[in-house]
Symmetry: C2
C-alpha cells in the first residue's frame, strides 16, 4: 500500500490541528466502530473541523481483510498557511493506513509491569477526552523508560490524580466495584472505556497516587490491545512498589473487555 | 518552489512531535537568527530530538533573497510507527519554506485592537517556552473571533495570569518600567522577547487580568511583525474594556524592538 503524504502547509503537521483514531479490525470488520465514530465526531465538533462523511471514513474498512489489523485514521483541518486563524473554507484532510496486528497474549495471561511516570498531565478542559494530534505529553511520558519489560506508564495530573496510561485507559477494583478516572480535565477517553461505561460495568471516580496502594486490582486497556491486568507497579524511580496477584477479581473486568473485542478469556 | 511533503508516519503529523521556527528574512538575511537557533536547540534538547546541523538549518537562507520574506522551519522526530515510544534511531526530518512578507505598517502607526480570549492556557512546565508543534490551544484561542478589525487575542492561564497573545508575546509598562510575563508554565518564549530580555530592556513579571487596567502601555510583538502598541482591549464578549493613547511611553519599547528588526520608527 502506498504511504499517504501530507503537504508542508497541512495544519495537522503545522499545529497538530486534527484528530486520530486507532481501530482494531478483525477479518476486515472494525471493533467498537460506533464508539470510534462518536469520538471522532465529538472531536471534530470541539475543534470545529468538518467531519468527513462516514462513507469516506469507512472506505479503508470495506476491503476484504484477514485476521487482526489496526486501522489508523487521521483527520486534519487540511491546508492553510496564514497562522493560527482557520482558513475561511476548511477542507479537512483524511488519511488512513492499515497494518497487521499481533495481540500480546502473554500480557492478558500474566499481567503486566508498569511504572508511574514523572510527567504530570496539564489540565485543558477544552481538549480533554478527545483524541487530538497534540500528544507531546504522551510522547514525553512514554519515553521516560526504555526497558522492554515495563510495558506501560501510569500518568497523573498536576493534582496527583492518576488519569491514564500513556496509550491506554486505567481501571481499578475497589470493594468489588470497577472504576475508571474522570477525564474532564485531561486524558483520552478510549472507546473500550466508553463501551464499559455505557454498559454500566465501570463508574468514573478519582484516584490519587497514594490510593494506588488500596485498590484490589488494577488494569490498563484499550480498544486494540484489550485489557491487561497490572501485576506489578514500579515507582517513578523504577523501584518495586505494588504487586497484585491475578485472582478472580482481576479476571472479571478483563473478561468483559476482551469479550467486546473478540479476544480470548483467561481464568 | 516545490511544496515539501511528509509521510503519514511522520511523528510531527502523528503527535505534533517536533518544533518550528518562523524567521524574518530581510534581503536573504535572517533577523535574530542566533535567538531562533538557540530556541530550536533548547526545544530539541527538551524533547530529546537530535537537532539538525546549523548548515542544514541555514540551507534555505543562503540563497539570494530580496525584500522581506518569512522562513518557516519545521523539525520533526521523523518517521516512526510504533506508538508513542521513540524509534531506537531517530532521524529527524527538516522542512522549510519561504514566503514573501508584507509588514503591517498601519499597526505600528495606529496601534491595534485586541480582545481577551476565553480559552485559558493549561500549565505544562515540561513544554513551556519552546515552540513545539502542539498548538491546539493557540488555534482554539485565535478562532474565538473572526472580525478582521481585531488583530490579536490575549490569553491567560488557569490562574487568571495574562501570558501572551495567540501568536505574539506581551509587554507592558508600569511606572516607567517594561515587563513581559513569565513563561515557565505555558506560552512560547518569542525571540524578540528573548532579545529584549537579554538587552535588559524588559523584566519578567506576573500580570493578572484585573491588572490590565493599571498598565500605562501595552504591546504585543514578535520577531516577524515587530512591536504593535495596543490601542484598545475588548473583553471576552467583544465589548470595549480598556483604551491606551499612543504617547511617548508607548513608542519607546516599540522603537527598541523595531530597531532590532530593521523596521521603521514612529513617534
Amino acid at each position: 500500500m502506498e504511504v499517504p503524504q501530507v503537504p508542508f502547509d497541512d495544519r495537522g503537521l503545522a499545529y497538530g490541528d486534527g484528530l486520530f483514531e486507532t481501530v482494531l479490525l478483525r477479518d476486515g470488520r472494525p471493533l467498537l466502530w460506533d464508539y470510534h465514530l462518536a469520538r471522532l465526531k465529538r472531536g471534530c465538533r470541539l475543534l470545529d473541523i468538518p467531519c468527513p462523511a462516514q462513507g469516506a471514513l469507512e472506505a479503508d474498512i470495506r476491503v476484504d481483510g484477514e485476521g487482526l489489523e489496526v486501522l489508523k485514521l487521521i483527520v486534519t483541518r487540511g491546508s492553510g498557511g496564514r497562522g493560527y486563524a482557520c482558513p475561511e473554507k476548511v477542507v479537512p484532510r483524511l488519511l488512513s493506513s492499515r497494518t497487521p496486528f499481533h495481540a500480546q497474549e502473554q500480557h492478558w495471561r500474566n499481567g503486566v509491569r508498569v511504572r508511574l511516570c514523572e510527567l504530570r498531565l496539564g489540565h485543558q478542559p477544552r481538549l480533554a477526552g478527545i483524541k487530538h494530534l497534540n500528544r507531546l505529553e504522551n510522547v514525553l511520558a512514554r519515553n521516560e523508560w526504555q526497558t522492554p519489560d515495563i510495558v506501560e506508564g501510569l500518568v497523573a495530573d498536576h493534582n496527583g490524580r492518576v488519569i491514564e496510561a500513556t496509550s491506554m485507559n486505567l481501571f481499578w477494583c475497589h470493594k468489588g466495584q470497577y472504576f475508571t478516572p474522570y477525564l474532564d480535565q485531561c486524558g483520552v477517553a478510549g472507546t473500550l472505556r466508553e463501551a464499559l461505561l455505557a454498559a454500566g460495568e465501570v463508574t468514573q471516580a478519582h484516584l490519587d497516587i497514594e490510593e494506588l496502594s488500596d485498590v484490589e486490582a488494577l488494569w490498563i486497556g484499550n480498544s486494540v490491545q484489550g485489557m491487561w491486568p497490572v501485576a506489578e507497579l514500579l515507582d517513578t524511580q523504577g523501584a518495586p512498589w505494588q504487586r497484585w496477584s491475578l485472582g478472580t477479581a482481576s479476571r472479571r473486568l478483563q473478561a468483559m473487555a476482551n469479550r467486546l473485542l473478540g479476544y480470548p478469556q483467561f481464568s
